[in-house]
Symmetry: C2
Subunit: 123 residues, 2 copies
């Protein structure tokens, strides 16, 4: 079964803003050459989550994992994303959509950010 991965971020008018998301996408592709990976954005940039899923579905993907690239877990993560997920599920009922916790809810991410803060503070 073909799987897709969507890295979902806020979006920005600044084209350089997405570079870290593209860098994560490149790492995912390198580690899992069969994975179809897309970045999607809440606002200010395209594609939206529904458009990204549409492209994956058109490529034959039956299961999509969404990683919300939010460090802060507020309205975007807890309201806007679930609303978009509902839109996608209604549009593609045959698709399995797995929404992971936001990256800011990951213990290993929080551990690593603390290490970054301390590395230079103690140098």
């Amino acid at each position: 079964m073909k799987r897709g991965i969507v890295l979902f971020g806020h979006g920005s008018r600044d084209p350089a803003w997405r570079e870290p998301m593209d860098a994560v996408a490149a790492r995912v592709r390198a580690q899992s050459p069969g994975a179809l990976v897309k970045c999607a954005f809440l606002e200010l940039q395209q594609p939206s989550l529904p458009l990204a899923v549409e492209a994956l579905a058109a490529a034959g993907v039956r299961e999509v994992t969404v990683l919300p690239m939010f460090l802060g877990v507020g309205k975007h993560a807890r309201e806007d994303l679930p609303r978009l997920v509902d839109v996608v599920r209604a549009r593609y009922p045959e698709l399995t959509l797995v929404v992971l916790p936001s990256v800011g809810e990951s213990g290993p991410v929080l551990d690593l950010l603390a290490i970054l803060a301390l590395q230079h503070a103690s140098s």
Copy 2:
């Protein structure tokens, strides 16, 4: 010499938004009990970066490390933060202010986010 650490994020009207930042601050304090750690925000929440540094300086801190908690590296990281750093440096010329790269520019962070995306996609 007393050192301070500022975790600098965007800020949000949603009080829950900052929880991951507070969680990182708690980890930093646990790993380095002598560190004075503060969260600061670009907008919508207090304290601002200058106010956070003011509090650290009042506590006797002479060197402050700032970790920009931005996954996307756009205007906030490349323009707004340097502008605030200039304000702080002008106001506290005796203070050493070390501004780390944004967390979205950290290779280990990007590696970890790719692992998060792949974990569930292959389960």
